[in-house]
Amino acid sequence: MKILRLSFIIFFIFSFNYLKASNEDMKSKITKNLRCLICQGQSVYDSDSEFANSLKVLVDKKLEEGFSENEIYVYFKDKYGEWILYDPGLNKNTYILWLLPILIFLIGGAIVIKSFIFKK
């Protein structure tokens, strides 16, 4: 009985992942990942500038037209460049940003392995 209850709870928790986010949630998610170009340092979601408000309306319109999250990012990237995205992809301008943590991790890992494992 306990196992049945436990599996029911696990199933219940996991089923949340399959609930489709409504357009409003998706709009919030997208606008949080877009940079306001007028009040730089703020996301479009947080900003109340004319530019940000227009962008929010357009994101809404694109979602209604059936654009996916990724298609909307591509659309804005095409208009304003990579800088409008808070989560930029890997390219020649951002490779240091992406590769440096991995490099530091590898070097750090090598130092740890060398000092603690090989020493023994």
Binding site: L37, E50, F51, S54, V57, I84
Partner: protein, 172 residues
């Protein structure tokens, strides 16, 4: 030997970080979108200012003429400064001036045009501001020089004498 290697690595890491931060301090943090040239004009539907008629953007830029698309608003102070230049362009036969009235009220926009003159052949009424975003604009005023359905120049901010000369030499 080991200490020497450690000292060299630490010094080089310090120098690299110092250079990155020093360069970062000198760079301006205000980002201006790249003026992407030779982009095709965006396709969208819009409302015309006077008639309220819904029009496709491709219908506005039909011929292989030069078009100067200007995004303006009655509440925008720099738009007043550049208006006389737009009035001059409206007399120029080589270029057609099209306006996008950005996030404005019709009554205020009409008073603005009554006061300063109307240089626009056609005006798009962009109440929500999305038409300006379609053009990749991020404020007012902004102007685009279009030829053969392609944006050949983009001007962020008000037009001035230097930019007017540049436009005139482009449309010759």
């Amino acid at each position: 030997m080991k200490n020497k290697l450690l000292l060299i690595s630490l010094t080089s890491i310090f120098i690299i970080i110092f250079v990155i931060f020093y360069k970062g301090l000198q760079d301006t943090n205000i980002y201006t979108p790249e003026s992407k040239m030779n982009n095709k004009i965006p396709l969208f539907t819009a409302n015309l200012f006077y008639s309220g008629e819904v029009i496709n953007s491709s219908e506005l830029f039909i011929s292989n003429r030069f078009y100067l698309l200007n995004i303006w608003s009655s509440w925008c102070v720099p738009c007043r400064q550049e208006h006389s230049f737009l009035m001059d362009f409206s007399d120029n036969e080589k270029v057609t001036v099209i306006g996008i009235n950005y996030k404005d009220t019709k009554s205020n926009a009409k008073s603005f045009l009554d006061e300063l003159g109307n240089p626009y052949e056609e005006i798009i009424f962009d109440e929500s501001g999305i038409n300006a975003i379609e053009w990749g604009a991020y404020g007012v005023p902004e102007s685009f020089l279009i030829h053969n359905g392609v944006v050949i120049r983009k001007y962020i901010g008000p037009l001035n004498e230097k930019l007017v000369k540049e436009i005139e030499s482009s449309i010759k």
